[in-house]
Symmetry: D2
């Protein structure tokens, strides 16, 4: 069972804004992207669809504290840690560390921390999403991280 995952990405030009730094809304996309990579690393998918309807994970809460900005060409490591697991929901903590800038590796520097709370939902085609027990393969593969 897995509870921690690390991903890396390089900042794209189109993720910056006129202040010359990564737009804060993108940190939420980066968290989600890491969540998807975590699932993928376990052979799982966060979103399943088909003729009979969809199964996915609705976001119910998201937060981020920003300490330092990220810039174009920075490389950032994003660490996901599972903090909560209930019948229909998961919550993750995230740490963003800058590990390189455009000139190469730098001493890892914590630039932001975040949290995402998600609920498993299903929907018939054209219907509303409803909370539903998480898929058994997810329940088997993911666990809460031991407290420090």
């Amino acid at each position: 069972m897995a509870h921690t995952f690390r991903d890396r990405r390089r900042i794209e030009f189109y993720e910056t804004d006129m202040a010359g730094i990564v737009h804060f809304s993108n940190f939420f996309r980066f968290m989600e992207s890491t969540e998807h990579a975590f699932f993928r690393s376990l052979g799982l998918s966060l979103h399943r669809g088909g003729p009979e309807g969809m199964s996915g994970w609705a976001r119910v809460g998201a937060e981020c504290a920003f300490r330092r900005p990220l810039h174009y060409m920075d490389e950032v490591e994003i660490e996901l840690v599972v903090r909560e697991k209930k019948q229909t929901s998961l919550a993750y903590d995230f740490v963003f560390r800058r590990v390189a800038d455009r000139d190469g590796p730098v001493a890892p520097d914590e630039v932001a921390t975040g949290r995402l709370s998600v609920v498993h939902v299903t929907a018939a085609n054209g219907g509303r999403m409803k909370a539903a027990g998480m898929p058994p393969d997810v329940a088997r593969a993911i666990e809460v991280a031991p407290s420090a």
Copy 2:
């Protein structure tokens, strides 16, 4: 029947990049947004979904020529003109004119021109999209603009 439509929007901070101007990819979003507003002005929707499947308009071609940049708080007028109408497809030309900056109205200034080609598609739930004759209400409401 309608063939021309004008929309206005103010540039958002999050639409800029570190060069201090609107990221070029957003001009394509602005074109699409104007297309949706054009349909809405006629009581139509570009995307229809339901228990039996979806009907929409797939983009098959998009282009834009950029003459001058747009900045945060600029107001831009976007003119759509229908240039082509076939059984399953439409093509629009667009002109972007800056009509105000952060200090107020300016003499209209053509900043970009674009073109969008779209094909009507339908898909059964979970199935592939296929080209299909456009909905009768769209065919009745939209026509090609007379040539100048």
Copy 3:
């Protein structure tokens, strides 16, 4: 002095994701857009640049709780209330209310709540951003909302 502001926007097609709803990262863009409109309503700008450097408002914290999804063509009212004002910082609460869907007005429905904490920063050209006392015109125009 002002402490409350309301803005409205219609959901764009490009703001949705494959789950058929507004991607959660866009709620953070909507908050910021409302903040900018609040400043603009007071004759102020959140971002000032020039030959000598820039003055802006860095985001230090952002959070959102999502109750119900927003869909394509929904109209949403976003209410901003100033909750904190210090020498260099402001914090706002937000309430998102769906007020119309594609078929017309609906009974206002609270879909999400959020919070944004921002710090006034300045930077010389090419230099790092540093916290700095907020501009006098902002300090004169904005106040904390009276508690209920």
Copy 4:
């Protein structure tokens, strides 16, 4: 000297729209991202800033033809080929090939082709961007591809 470059990326959930496919505006972001990776592979940067001003590459034209959609978790190879090089400008052709879907590798499938035309610009701090001869290190490193 270099004239061809290939990059790969996996489609993110947040790059999809309610039609269940990658939003067409993102293909333009993918082209630009590949252009940046091409420059980076040569030890170059597309955007340089500092106390005295900025140097960058303004987009003057962009187009894309879409043959087939991309979906969540697809992996796409993006090939850039330099087609034009003048004193101040470059033009690239792009081919997008789907090389994997969520279940693993697939026979490479051309899903889109594009073109980007860019002009080298410089700007003093707070000033307007003006076309300017491309930096010597770029002129030395990049050439037009031989015609087939």
